[in-house]
């Protein structure tokens, strides 16, 4: 629902902004040698990768007398933001990679993906180091961020604040006009298009990705966190994050420094939400994650999770999040749906179901709607189609695009969301969950 992402342009502004949020010690100087590394087709600007492999290349930029033998490894092996290397997209992941770079300057391709369990906590805290082969001499470095969706309860204070600042910005910018499409696309008029149908899970996968990319236009170091609703989340339901225990008529308490204090949706101010469970010691009133995985071996079996845990998570509260027409007015909505999506992604991983035309992975039946469920159907509102059987207006615009890929496409189809992980090269939607590796 945003414009086309101008990745490089926004990256530097947003990085500067992110650094203002918390004062860090200056980063280690980056060693620059006669090498050019591209990540996701770009040699400049800040780089962001997930767990799914992304294409890279390296070449020498001077004219050495002979081919150059180098080893690639992580810039900092003692911290987050680590990657693994592959020679081919689906090849074995390894912590280092030895390459021969032609003296003539031809590029050598390889692939990197975030190392599971070693995601970044800060922008550009990871990177690739180029070592002279067989030595520890560093010839060149390239920074990057391993950016994945994390459990909101485990975020560092700085990660949490970056997310809140970006989310609050989105809510405030242009008098709220940038956030309005996220309300209009999930209101009562949109309800029949997006709920109670096979495309419920694909549609919401695209919806939260749209929001995430809109946040990344503000601060590219932000990934949407998930509220793991079957576990206690004492760090989420606090005045510094999604709001603490309501002390009045059901309005969450928000600290003076938390920008969500000035939250507004459709003319309503603040966040009306009262949990019906003890947030510090219990999860929501939902089915446990392990049980969700047992709902069935086919998509038709699994998609009943739309009721529990999805619907059950929504009604684990009083407040705007409990009604389909108003739910997206509560910022928690997106963290709740991030976990719904993660559960689907985990179910897919456990059963290796990533092919859109495989009826076990996705079945567009039974449907009550003539269009919008088949894998090849484009999805409203990104397709801009209005009028029966689609809703009468299409808020926002096309799916925001990354500079190096067209997946999912501007007019995202149902099928494009199924292989979000990119099990097949070229399919990746370029988001990952911290506990779901590329395997």
């Amino acid at each position: 629902m945003g414009s086309i992402t101008k990745k490089d342009q926004t990256a530097n502004t947003a990085l500067d902004r992110a650094r203002r949020i918390a004062i860090h010690p200056p980063p280690d100087p980056v060693i620059t040698g006669p090498f050019a590394i591209t990540i996701n087709e770009s040699a400049t600007g800040n780089a962001y990768v997930g767990y799914s492999p992304c294409a890279c290349s390296i070449r020498v930029t001077n004219t050495p007398a002979a081919d150059v033998q180098v080893t690639l490894q992580n810039r900092n092996t003692a911290a987050g933001g680590q990657v693994q290397f592959r020679t081919t997209y689906a090849g074995a992941a390894q912590d280092t990679l030895s390459l021969t770079l032609p003296a003539g300057g031809a590029a050598v391709t390889f692939f990197i993906g975030g190392k599971p369990g070693f995601a970044s906590t800060q922008d550009q805290d990871g990177g690739i180091a180029v070592l002279a082969n067989g030595t520890s001499t560093r010839l060149h470095e390239k920074t990057l961020m391993v950016r994945v969706r994390k459990n909101a309860n485990t975020l560092t204070a700085e990660e949490r604040d970056r997310f809140l600042y970006a989310f609050s910005d989105l809510n405030r910018r242009s008098g709220g006009n940038l956030y309005e499409p996220f309300l209009d696309s999930h209101d009562l008029a949109a309800d029949p298009e997006i709920h109670r149908r096979p495309a419920f899970l694909p549609w919401h996968r695209a919806f939260i990705l749209d929001l995430e990319r809109s946040l990344q236009e503000i601060d590219p170091s932000v990934a949407l966190p998930y509220w793991k609703f079957d576990e206690p989340a004492p760090n989420v339901f606090t005045p510094d994050f999604m709001g603490g225990e309501p002390i009045n008529a059901g309005r969450v308490t928000i600290n003076e420094t938390n920008p969500l204090r000035v939250w507004s949706a459709r003319g309503s101010t603040g966040i009306a939400r009262r949990p019906l469970f003890t947030t510090a010691t219990s999860g929501g009133i939902v089915m446990a994650e392990a049980d969700v995985m047992t709902l069935g071996a086919t998509f038709t079996d699994f998609r009943i999770m739309e009721n529990d845990p999805h619907g059950a998570a929504h009604v684990s509260f009083e407040g705007t999040i409990t009604d389909p027409g108003t739910a997206s007015g509560d910022p928690l909505f997106f963290m709740l749906h991030c976990n719904v999506d993660r559960l689907w992604a985990k179910w897919q991983m456990l059963r290796n179901l990533f092919t859109a035309t495989d009826v076990n992975a996705y079945a567009p039946t039974p449907t009550t709607r003539p269009i919008g469920d088949a894998p090849g159907d484009t999805m409203w509102p990104w397709n801009g189609v209005t009028g029966s059987p689609r809703p009468s207006s299409a808020p926002g615009g096309a799916m925001p695009q990354l500079a190096f890929t067209s997946k999912p496409s501007p007019q995202v189809t149902v099928g494009e969301t199924i292989d979000y992980l990119g099990k097949t090269q070229g399919n990746s939607n370029f988001f990952n969950y911290d506990d779901l590796p590329f395997v």
Binding site: I21, T294, G311, V439
Partner: protein, 333 residues
Amino acid sequence: MNDPQEYLNRLQQELKDAEAKYALLLENFKTATDSAALQKALEAIPFIKDAQAVQKAMALFNDKQEQPVVRRLALQKITGAIGDNKTYVENILAVLNDETAPAELRKSVLTALQTLDFSSNAMIAKRSDFKVVLRKLLDDDDPELKAMSAEKLALQKDEYVQRRLLKGLQEKDESLVSAAKAIQLLAYDAHANYYPVVRSILSNEATDSITKVEAIHALAFDQESKPLLQNLMQNKTQLKQIRVSSATAMELGHVNDFIAAAKRIVLDEDDYDDIRIACLSSLAHQPDKDEVFNDDQFVQKISLAKNLTGIKNLKKMSELYLGKARTFRQNKK
């Protein structure tokens, strides 16, 4: 997770174990007969979708002689299956409408129907019937059912409940929920005609602070309330909650007036820390504006305050503000 394949293998084994366990739990439920055994079986099983077991659970729910706890558990475990069956939806709606049914069971039904509102096509066909029952529940003896119904209707901008809520604010005997809650529910609809009544409640010195906070939020976009909100924001004799809420409302509804007042408060060392921090935080999070970030005097004073203050959050917000002002000015050059 060092070895992703090993991690996946472990998760897949856990899934197999869980599936085997589920088969046993289902069998336990199918064979349970007396209330105690049924309760135990229902507590243990996470969901029921097997057709035969769903029928058994639905029969238990419908059985008025059965223990309420068993009926409630049966409902909870088959909510998804109920959503696939119009008759089942009608069945549970009838229990919600039955004043003689146990209140706890009716509350569980209401929660189940709210869940189904997200997920069931059969429920959608019954939405208008649901609304009829919800309106009737506004006069139920159970205050919790009354409040739950009022909220659900208010979220759907139901004019009937809006009229009842407004009347309750004017005549105490007619109130469905507390005044604070009534104002919050009315404010779910920016088009509900509540401004004059709520303004008069906020102006009344005798109104309690909880109700005042809700009134402040509800009046954020009311032009006629601006002087009242501005006064509350700046009045040092008001409680912190009232002042911070007023600052929030002013920022949302009358941003230019807010900026001017917020600057004065931030620089007033005699004012309370909480309101100064809230105002500075709001200024720091403003979208780029000359009057916020290009005010030399203000920037200098914040710079000085940052170095002198021992208040952690004031320092933190000062740094945030100054960083943004610096970038704003650089971009202007």
